[in-house]
């Protein structure tokens, strides 16, 4: 029998260290919902989502109660909408977002991702219509998340799309100005987007996926932080081992929940995403883990190395614990969603340039960052281009979720509430990148050999 210490270990992790399963995300293919009549297509989309996900939330809650482990979010991801809506004869894809939103509300999930377009090499007519519909769609719906993939290691970076996304983000902020530019928190610009990511706002159900699938995202920054407190001052070999062991346990729990959900729903199990996803709650922060390794404040010199170790050890520990690993897998560093990051940004130690360096070694990118409301579209595009370049060259996923908060200046804070937290407005370089972004075209795909 499991001994009492192990049992109380688990209970303390849940009670005091915020251990949870961050999300059960059901991926649903909508490829069979395409219709030349947009109304018919929207009806098919609503019907398919509500049919497939009817029992998702209830099943998640039952598992929560029986295993005594919190499952924070139940979510949906669908086929990139540009691929579905492309067949319909219409110029605006806003009704498709509304259909997604209505379906998500009907089944009781808290987000639905997949209002997406993949334009890394070029955009189809449908992709262009979808991107043009993003600002209004995100302003008019509550639960819909959008993403656009503008680059990849194989295709290079589509700089025309990068230019468009800078303007789209500005427009999103304007249309949701009364909520601090909240629309931008539901929009991610990717390089090397993955098809099985269970986390929002960037989740979508790739075309290589089956009809319906269950993906699970685990979390546990608090548990890792707590474990590291016991090895204060010891060499990094010990730190890495400790993180690996902790990640193993956390992931085993995620795997169990994923298999159970898959069995009860009669839907195949896809992947477990091995992630350290922070929340704004005290004791659930990735930044505080880095500080526990010996940094006075997250963002100072040494932060990138600390994050590299953390990210790698989480994967190594998690891989053995799960039969299939995928998604983004690694440590997330969203500024507004991490109590330690918020404090570091507020104190001025953590700035955009350091965050950019950190994204070279973490699982995603510049995430939930508020910048002054008067930041130009070209500057945002240039930030996206920098981030996409990091992803493209390093064969990893990178993303930008940035909020040019209307009317706000450096030093202000944007409050989003809930898991999205509050974002201190961070300074940007005032020098223009207008002419750089205006060039358009494509940045060619990089060499994959002679790597130095």
């Amino acid at each position: 029998m499991i001994n009492a210490n192990e049992i109380f270990d688990t209970i303390h992790m849940i009670d005091q260290q915020h251990l949870d399963v961050r999300t059960i995300t059901m991926g649903i293919s909508l490829l069979d919902c395409a219709d030349s009549d947009p109304n018919a297509a929207c009806r098919k989309i609503y019907d398919k989502i509500t049919r497939q996900a009817e029992h998702l939330v209830a099943t998640g809650e039952a598992i929560e109660r029986e295993f005594g482990i919190p499952i924070v979010n139940k979510r949906l991801s669908v086929t990139p909408m540009a691929l579905v809506a492309g067949a319909s004869e219409t110029n605006s894809y806003v009704p498709f977002a509304v259909a997604m939103d209505n379906a998500a509300k009907a089944v009781g999930v808290n987000f639905i991702g997949g209002f997406s377009a993949l334009v890394q090499k070029g955009a189809t007519k449908a992709d262009r219509k979808l991107i043009a519909s993003i600002p209004e769609s995100l302003a008019r719906t509550d639960l819909v998340c959008a993403s656009v993939n503008v680059g990849s290691t194989k295709a290079g970076i589509n700089m025309n799309a990068v230019g468009v996304m800078g303007r789209t983000i500005k427009e999103c902020a304007q249309l949701t100005a009364d909520q601090g530019g909240f629309g931008c928190a539901k929009l991610v610009v990717f390089c090397n987007a993955v098809e099985d990511n269970p986390f929002m706002a960037g989740a979508f159900h790739g075309v290589g996926e089956p009809d319906c699938i269950i993906n699970v995202g685990v979390s546990g920054p608090g548990v890792v932080h707590h474990a590291l407190k016991d090895v204060k001052g010891q060499p990094f070999d010990v730190v890495a081992e400790t993180i690996k062991k902790t990640a193993f346990r956390v992931t085993r729990m995620g795997q169990l929940v994923a298999q159970e959900a898959s069995r009860r729903l009669g839907v195949p199990f896809g992947i477990v995403d091995l992630s350290l996803a922070p929340t704004p709650a005290i004791g659930d922060s990735v930044a505080r883990i880095l500080e526990e390794m010996g940094l006075e404040t997250c963002g100072t010199h040494g932060t990138t190395a600390a994050l590299a170790l953390l990210n790698d050890a989480v994967k190594k520990g998690g891989v053995m614990a799960s039969s299939h690993v995928g998604g983004l897998s690694g440590a997330f560093i969203p500024v507004s969603e991490d109590e330690g990051m918020i404090a570091a940004a507020r104190s001025g130690v953590l700035h955009l340039d350091k965050l950019e360096a950190m994204t070279c070694v973490c699982s995603v990118g510049l995430d939930m960052i508020a910048v002054p409301g008067d930041t130009s579209a070209a500057t945002i595009s240039a930030i996206i281009a920098d981030e996409a370049a990091i992803g493209m060259v390093n064969s990893k996923t990178t993303a930008v979720r940035i909020i040019p908060a209307p009317g706000k200046v450096v030093g202000d804070t944007v409050e989003f509430g809930g898991l999205l937290g509050s974002a201190p407005v961070m300074p940007i370089h005032p020098q223009s990148a207008e002419a750089f972004v205006a060039r358009g075209g494509r940045i060619p795909a990089p060499m994959q050999s002679l790597k130095n």
């Binding site: 029998m1 499991i2 001994n3 009492a4 192990e6 049992i7 109380f8 270990d9 688990t10 209970i11 039952a62 109660r65 029986e66 295993f67 005594g68 482990i69 346990r249 085993r252 729990m253 795997q255 169990l256």
Partner: protein, 89 residues
């Protein structure tokens, strides 16, 4: 199916009787018990068999939690699998 019941709270008369009473009432068999007092705190772990329980397991867990809450105790019933997954390869 086996489950783990854990009880934590300030020690006093009747905790054991309360928990065992509740379990017996719903036809849950106790297989193993480990119990100590840590600095006045009552700490107990029970392995139980819920195969013949007259309630769905989630309802039993909710009931135990509520009965505990009413008496300032933390009582949890969780499926054994979660502990096996986390602590055994």
């Amino acid at each position: 199916m086996k489950a783990i019941v854990t009880v934590l709270g300030k020690d006093r008369v009747g905790i054991m009787s309360l928990v065992c009473g509740l379990l017996a009432q719903h036809n849950v068999n106790v297989l193993d018990i480990s119990q100590t007092i840590l600095q006045d705190y009552f700490t107990m772990v029970m392995l139980v068999d819920v195969s013949n329980c007259d309630l769905p397991f989630a309802d039993l867990a909710a009931l135990m939690e509520q009965e505990g809450k009413d008496r300032d105790l933390s009582i949890r019933a969780q499926r054994e699998d979660i502990f096996n997954a986390m602590h055994r390869i």
